[in-house]
């Protein structure tokens, strides 16, 4: 059927849609990195125009009929054959898209651009009121979107499903029900011994940090001839297309590890994106599975690899070469303790591995309440602070360190946060499987060799495109269904090794 005329036509149309979507990605990347302030309104017009055209191509009735016809014909084929996978995902995309009126899609895309600008200002001024009217609008539109998309129990599920296909909030609640007590237990045993490790502090010129960051990213396999690293307020990575996958970071002159772990995180995403099968670009087999799986890669490189003793056995001498003064008296164990320092704090992106998912738990709770209509946008700051105190027993000092800290809601990305926790859980399971397949793997890292790990990930995950749904992919790789036990075990073992818990 690969030679089927209609199938080839669909491939062509979906490639065209991908070119348009990737154009919107560039418009968005430029907005964060380069666009002058006064360009906001026009950029909103550009993005909404391009997005609306892609949407109208996707909802085209003829496309829908072609997909339906081929999907039916393919009924008897192996469910994970290339063709079945593409048809399954095309059907999902088309079906979801037809549920959304073009006007809503365009309006959301337009409002998001404006809201983003307002959020940047609100965050800087720590003034929720600057962002509030935009957020009211985005919540209203997102709720409409959820209704159009449809859901069974929970309006929130319709949005979660966008980022993590087939995932449901009931499953996530079940995960958190076991994860949160486990994290709190590990946290309190570490805190009972102090905060575990001191902070890195010194003077780290940003140009030197850039050298180190690029060197590390290159070493783990990120290809700068098909990518670049830029400076932004809220770091992200984006795949413009095959051969063009960009990462971003921010810099702190007093602590080089902030940028380094940021870069390792984004480079983890970047490795996934750079190693997706280019020949399948524009079809589901050339695309990533879900945000949860994407995040498993960023967290694997940032945390499991990047905060390990083995990794720094190789890289600490390199870093000392670059920062000879600031790191002069730093020994390996002290350094690895420092970068694994556990300490409750207000900012998610600065959180350690133990508290990180507690931050996500808060957002997950709050998002459900917002989308399910249990609270008003106006009450978000108060509710955030209340939940924060419940979980962390700390008072939030201002909204820039509270509900204004994250970019996500300014992009109407409700349902996105839980994918971070899924990513953490998956990363531990996937790395365990890699260790089982390659017992000497940790020895590679001590020598600064990361090629075997990348090849394994490429084969198991990157080359698969969207062949499997995330839970299924994890089970294919690890032999077990997703569960938080492996991740908790990983944290427990690290606490024992580093802090003698």
């Amino acid at each position: 059927m690969e030679k089927n005329r209609e199938y080839r036509k669909l491939c062509k149309i979906f490639r065209k849609i991908a070119f348009l979507k990737s154009t919107a990605s560039l418009l968005a990347w430029d907005q964060e990195t380069n666009m002058p302030d006064s360009g906001q309104k026009h950029r909103a017009d550009q993005i909404s125009t391009v997005t609306a055209i892609a949407h109208s191509m996707l909802v085209d009735e003829e496309i829908g009929q072609m997909i339906a016809r081929l999907y039916e014909q393919a009924g008897d084929m192996a469910p994970y054959s290339d063709l079945s996978v593409n048809l399954r995902e095309w059907k999902r995309s088309h079906d979801q898209a037809v549920r959304l009126p073009e006007g809503l899609v365009k309006e959301l895309s337009y409002e998001k651009v404006l809201a983003h600008g307002a959020w940047v200002k609100a965050r800087t001024a720590s003034d929720f009121s600057l962002f509030e009217p935009h957020l009211v609008r985005l919540v209203e539109l997102s709720r409409k979107k959820a209704i159009y998309l449809g859901f069974e129990e929970n309006m929130y599920d319709a949005l979660l499903d966008i980022y993590e296909p087939d995932e449901r909030s009931a499953n996530i609640e079940a995960l958190f029900a076991r994860l949160v007590p486990g994290l709190k237990e590990i946290l309190s045993s570490i805190l009972s011994k102090g905060s575990g490790g001191s902070k890195i502090a010194g003077n780290f010129p940003i140009d030197s940090q850039k050298v180190l960051a690029k060197l590390m990213a290159t070493r783990i396999g990120y290809d700068f001839s098909a990518g670049r690293l830029d400076t932004v307020v809220h770091p992200f990575s984006t795949r413009i297309g095959p051969g063009d996958v960009r990462i971003t970071t921010r810099w702190n002159e007093k602590d080089f590890t902030e940028a380094i772990f940021g870069v390792l995180h984004e480079a983890g995403h970047g490795l996934y994106s750079q190693n997706l099968p280019a020949e399948a670009y524009g079809t589901p087999l050339g695309d990533s599975v879900s945000l949860g799986i994407h995040e498993s890669q960023s967290r694997l490189y940032e945390n499991i690899l990047g905060r390990s003793m083995e990794f720094w056995e190789y890289f600490l001498p390199v870093a000392k070469g670059i920062f000879p003064v600031a790191l002069k008296d730093m020994d390996l164990v002290g350094f690895v303790q420092a970068i694994n320092r556990v300490q409750p704090s207000f900012i998610r992106v600065e959180a350690d591995e133990v508290t990180y998912n507690l931050h996500i738990f808060l957002r997950f709770q709050l998002e459900k309440e917002i989308i399910n209509g249990q609270i008003e946008v106006h009450d978000i700051p108060a509710r955030w602070n209340e939940l924060f105190e419940d979980i962390f027993d700390m008072k939030v000092p201002d909204d820039s360190r509270g509900c204004l800290q994250d970019v996500h809601w300014s992009g109407a990305a409700f349902g996105y946060f839980p994918t971070y926790t899924l990513g953490n859980i998956y990363s531990a399971m996937i790395f365990d499987a890699a260790l089982k397949d390659m017992p000497g793997l940790r020895e590679d890292f001590k020598k600064g060799e990361f090629g075997r790990l990348l090849s394994w990930l490429r084969e198991k995950i990157y080359a698969q495109g969207q062949r499997y749904r995330s839970r299924q992919l994890v089970e294919e790789i690890t032999g077990s269904p997703p569960d938080c036990q492996c991740f908790l075990g990983y944290l427990q073992k690290k606490a024992e090794l580093l802090f003698g818990i």
Copy 2:
């Protein structure tokens, strides 16, 4: 008729087309400034997809019928009313576009992206053969394009008309017939006295050059909150949209004036673009007249203003503050002589005001031969060198200093070069008119005040959008039809003032 439903529909559609075209502009800007090497192929796909969609919207039959209907109804209206102008230009755009098959448009757009990459490599290696197959393709497609567009005497005219509506090569030939002897005469009288002025040389750190360049651009009125300055191989300016007009330059650590005049040039374009009426964006009344008029602004700011004694009476002390060592012994007259140094050279973009249009004359001659099929692409280097020797009496040492030096042909921009000469001619006429209207204008410059000039240009040119064709606009402003006498007079007067000719 402004309230006419069809007219409003056309406004909306043409705004949408403008959003798409401006998206293609961003894709192109990014390609020059940021895109990683391996992104070439995908970028070609993106640009050609977006361009083809814009094209298909423009050629839509229903649009054509609406335009034709309204155009006919508007027959009796004032020919330069807002409505008549928009309809006239829409008709022109639509009529031209329907002549071009979508396949050709897409192919050209795609081949241009590939050719650009090849040209960069060829120019670096000074190896025409790397570029030749791409150029063969582009010439072939451009000739097809000219045939589809239609022409009376000269195939080349069809392409010239794209950049300079209603201009014809016979007119340009007539201009050059008077201009070239005039230039040669001025040139030889300057050269007979030596080369007129010494060169600037010293050590000018690039970061400091950036400070000066941004300061100057800001001072003449370029708004950085609606723009930015980046580094590229071949400088250009681009209007992404209202509130987002970007300029670029390259830097030479040994001579800061290269970048400074580059920035003044691009900022001149930028001023035009930033001051087009934003409320008319997407319609002809919100767009620039032609490349010739655009170039008149860049050359006015770069040369007539930027190389004048008055300008540097204000800016030389500023530059000395920034480069205290390198400019220590520089006096005003010596400096202004140096930046007006006349000396035949190989590179157009480094040429002085006297020889510049001789470079254009060469390209104009050669382009006509290429497009009219009088020579083969393979013979371009030899023919270039022959023409160069005819005009300058110098032997071209290699193709990177010969036919590979300019970016234009890699973008299939045949017919573009003569607009540079038109720009020079227009700039002298326009500035003369400004002086007549504001006799004390030169005194402003000595005080670093450029607001009156900008306001005058805004009123006379920028606010007009495409109300008039270029020759007509020049006549409206100056009272005379375009002619090279004013420009030659300007050069002659400068030669007298600076070199005692």
